[in-house]
């Protein structure tokens, strides 16, 4: 450091030009671009595996959706009614309006929630509010992020849908040219609405914001469930008859409201996909002009939404921020709940040190809703699906029962494994890195590092096994599979839970990141990505090894399958061999990363 230069005059800030709004916007844009470029350089330079994985999986997902939508529209054209016929038109209108109206609502919620985090819980906002930046500029700056993060899923869903529809009806080129501007103009409106709601909610009701949000979400969810229940609750004989079709369309007529932006988007897409009229007609009635008019309607409304957002931000943001900062805070008290006592009793057989570490991790998990709520949502949704899975069996009368049921049951098993692998990557993998940050706590206690690693493994394996085993059992019971399949599934579940826990803990110990405080960022690094990839490979391997022999044995028993190519005398042997191989793979996947992890963690030096 050099000595300070001569004293400067500081009796009043020098009069400088006031930054006009355009220059201010350009300045923020430049910062964002510079940040984005640096981020991209880092992704391509240091996180190639993760980037490649994300791009590949996104493409895979996109292609899968495209195929699904294309086949659906093809089925509609060939199996129901050709394009131009009333049934075809009504069905497409129904699908488009329902799809975009649902996403309209979701965009309002997601952009509001994301903007809430960006504005009221962000160090950047806190910093920007101490600068001469205009309040509305700060809001618009964070709103851009909210739009991006809340709408990428929308693009991922809407783009294959619209392109598949265009191809299925042989739409003109103008249709494809209009897709992007239509979607962009549409997305801005619900996002701005969500942002305005967020600001007004905090401005007026900061202290009850969670209650209000929960009430709105519950009402919306309830209405959606009631509508869906009404639609799918029909008896089998009613499904697909004319009356059911018309009733369903009428039931969801609220999605075709003329004031809904989703209706403007749907109408524009359907109009734009139509062929030019063979005979001349008034310009305003030609399909492509109607589509362009809808685009203008969406565009002008999105501009208006932006203006309103800006005005609301100008008047409310700083006060809302201050109210959020000064809201009454009630400190949470750490109490020993009944579940803690149950956990203590369950963990009694473990050595005292391991038990203490497990109880500590259990309390941290229990008191962190971010962790268990995600677990609850995903596994809850899976549970709902499994509870209703026999509906598929009932309506799948033309498919061979054994093939269908066993295929679905093993797919369910793989899905549980894949979801579990995302949890082990997100929550278990970073545990040792986070432990390293506070290593002075454990490091100064009479507990070996090996014990720390093993305790994390036991915590992850035990914690994941109970819900996974219960879910798989529910799936099997609903599908009414045989006892043999239930047994194989439960064995596979144990292998999956133990192997995935060992992979996450072992790799977390081998490649810890003590610099990063955020578990999500630790999980998003190279080690986390590698863990996700290895976990997926492991799941596919174990499920295939147990599922295939079991499946062959069951379909060989089925009378509808010709067993010539399945020598039945070897099927039991295959079953045992497959299970044995799966156990061997599971043991390798458990022992190798854990022993290596223990060794690496024991050698680690903490800064």
């Amino acid at each position: 450091m050099t000595p300070a230069p001569a004293a400067v005059r500081a009796t009043a800030a020098p009069e400088r030009r006031d930054l006009d709004t355009r220059t201010e916007a350009a300045l923020f844009r430049r910062v964002r671009l510079t940040e984005a470029r640096a981020h991209l350089r880092r992704l391509l330079g240091q996180a190639r595996l993760r980037t490649l994985l994300v791009v590949t999986l996104s493409l895979f997902f996109w292609c899968g959706l495209f195929a699904l939508f294309y086949l659906g529209f093809q089925f509609l054209s060939t199996g129901i009614a050709a394009p131009g016929y009333p049934f075809h038109t009504k069905t497409v209108e129904f699908v488009f309006h329902l799809f975009f109206a649902s996403l309209n609502l979701m965009l309002i919620f997601s952009s509001g929630i994301i903007l809430y985090g960006g504005l009221f819980a962000s160090p950047e906002t806190r910093y920007l509010l101490t600068t001469p930046a205009r309040d509305e500029r700060v809001v618009l700056h964070k709103f851009q992020e909210a739009v991006l993060f809340s709408s990428w899923g929308f693009f991922l869903l809407a783009s294959p849908l619209t392109i598949a529809y265009g191809l299925s009806v042989d739409a003109p080129w103008s249709y494809y040219a209009l897709i992007l501007p239509l979607i962009l103009s549409f997305v801005y409106i619900p996002c701005a609405l969500g942002a305005i709601c967020c600001l007004l909610l905090i401005y007026k009701l900061a202290h009850v914001r969670l209650t209000v949000l929960a009430a709105i979400a519950a009402v919306s969810f309830g209405a959606a469930v009631a509508a869906v229940w009404d639609a799918v609750g029909a008896t089998r004989t009613q499904v697909f008859d004319d009356r059911f079709f018309n009733d369903t369309i009428n039931r969801f007529s609220f999605t075709r409201g003329e004031l809904l932006p989703s209706s403007w988007l749907s109408d524009a897409l359907i109009d734009a996909a139509q062929q030019p009229p063979p005979i001349p007609m008034p310009l305003g009635e030609t399909p492509v002009v109607r589509a362009v008019m809808c685009l203008l309607l969406l565009f002008t409304n999105s501009l208006m939404a932006r203006l309103i957002l800006k005005a609301v931000a100008q008047r409310t943001f700083r006060t809302a921020f201050s109210q959020m900062e000064c809201r009454p805070r009630r400190a949470r008290r750490g109490k020993t709940a009944l579940v803690d006592r149950v956990a203590e009793a369950v963990l009694h057989p473990f050595p005292p040190q391991v038990r203490l570490l497990l109880l500590k991790d259990w309390r941290l998990l229990r008191r962190d809703p971010v962790q268990w709520s995600q677990f609850l949502i995903f596994f809850g949704l899976l549970g709902l699906y499994f509870l209703n899975v026999d509906q598929f069996r009932v309506t799948a009368g033309d498919i061979d029962r054994a093939t269908w049921v066993n295929l679905v049951s093993f797919l369910n098993l793989a899905v549980v494994g894949l979801i579990l692998s995302t949890f082990t990557t997100r929550f278990i993998y970073p545990m040792l890195s986070l432990e390293g940050r506070r290593f002075w706590v454990l490091g100064l206690m009479p507990v070996s590092r090996e014990t720390i690693v093993w305790s994390k493994f036991v915590f992850a394996a035990l914690g994941s096994w109970a819900p996974c085993a219960a879910l798989i059992l529910v799936s099997d019971l609903m599908l009414r599979v045989s006892a043999l399949v239930i047994g194989v599934h439960q064995l596979t579940t144990v292998l999956l839970c133990v192997g995935l826990a060992a992979l996450a803990v072992g790799l977390g110990a081998i490649m810890p990141d003590f610099r990063e405080a955020s578990p999500s960022k630790i999980a998003a690094g190279f080690g986390g990505t590698l863990n996700l990839v290895l976990s997926a490979i492991y799941i596919i391997l174990v499920v295939t090894l147990t599922a295939l022999p079991c499946h062959f044995k069951l379909i060989a028993d089925s009378a509808s399958i010709n067993p010539d190519w399945l020598p039945t005398r070897y099927l039991d042997l295959w079953l045992v061999l497959g299970a044995g191989l799966a156990v061997a793979v599971g043991m390798v996947a458990t022992i190798v990363p854990l022993t290596r992890g223990v060794r690496a963690f024991s050698r680690l030096e903490f800064d």
């Binding site: 004293a7 510079t34 101490t130 900062e325």
Partner: protein, 304 residues
């Protein structure tokens, strides 16, 4: 100049700042002392525009921080206790952003950035992304950003935490230099030795109220003949009452007499420290009305 006029702010039922009246004239370095939860950070947040006063007014160079938030922000250089930098920007890019935000032209910004980079020894790191900076480096960069636009008011929250001795010296010299140039400096700190060394005046906050305002000498005169350090004086003054106070407790205190509460705290603390410093117990000091024959220190609201 900084002015707090009857400023009050509460967090729900907890009164964080109660009726704060304070003026810090140009050319003064003011150090605010107090326990954790005494109200120092809330005071700073109101000063820099992050919080709005529940009652009263905060003025920076005559600009109201609520109704003229942008104009007030232009007069302030703020160094928070937790420095914030854009991780994906280099130090130089961040400084460029701040300079232009304050309306500086590109060339003017370039000169100011070079000046601050040189002053804070950021040369080697200025073009690296700030995600790789240590806490000290981040703190220096934030200091540089706060001074780029040559503000007449500097607000620093715990400026010495996490700095090496060399940087601490630099910061102390810098603060004095700004004051000598005519700036008002508001510093919140727990580092009593630094406050004693550089501050022109200190204020002691407790449970949202300023219970002492004056120079270290004036505080010392409260306990003549004892030759106490600022640390011991401070501990004598604040006693053991920490954290905020609820509106009910505040009302009870008001009923019991507003001057009695600090005296009680001081009495307890005096009794605690008495055996170390002197053979007998201390007289309970009243910071607002010091005992004779000492010249009374300035009242809570000091006019320049």
């Amino acid at each position: 100049m900084i002015e707090f006029r009857g400023v009050t702010r509460s967090y729900g039922d907890t009164l964080a700042v109660r009726g704060l009246d304070l003026v810090i004239p140009s050319g003064e370095l003011f150090a605010m002392l107090g326990h954790n939860g005494a109200g120092k950070t809330t005071t700073i947040k109101m000063l820099v525009g992050l919080l709005r006063p529940g009652a009263g007014q905060v003025l920076v160079e005559g600009r109201d921080v609520v109704s003229q938030a942008r104009e007030a922000a232009k007069q302030i250089g703020y160094v928070p206790d937790q420095p914030y930098l854009y991780e994906k920007l280099s130090g130089r890019e961040f400084l460029q952003f701040v300079a232009e935000m304050h309306g500086m032209s590109r060339s003017e910004a370039g000169r100011a950035i070079d000046r601050e980079i040189s002053r804070f020894g950021l040369g080697r790191f200025a073009d690296e992304l700030s995600e790789s900076y240590s806490h000290g480096m981040k703190q220096r960069t934030v200091f540089a950003a706060a001074l780029l636009h040559d503000p007449p008011v500097l607000v620093v929250d715990e400026p010495l935490v996490g700095l090496d001795p060399h940087s601490i010296r630099l910061v102390k010299d810098l603060l004095r230099e700004r004051v000598d140039a005519g700036a008002s400096v508001f510093m919140s700190t727990h580092t009593l030795a630094a406050a004693e060394e550089v501050a022109d005046r200190v204020g002691v906050m407790q449970q949202g109220q300023v219970i002492f305002l004056g120079t270290v000498e004036e505080m010392r005169r409260l306990h003549p003949a004892r030759d106490m350090t600022l640390e011991r004086l401070y501990l004598t003054l604040v006693g053991g009452e920490v954290g905020g106070v609820s509106s009910r407790e505040a009302a009870e205190q008001a009923d019991a007499g507003s001057a009695a509460r600090p005296q009680r705290g001081a009495q307890q603390a005096s009794e605690r420290v008495a055996p170390i410093d002197s053979p007998g117990p201390l007289e309970p000091p009243n910071p607002l009305q010091p005992p004779n024959p000492v010249e009374p220190p300035s009242p809570v609201e000091n006019q320049p």
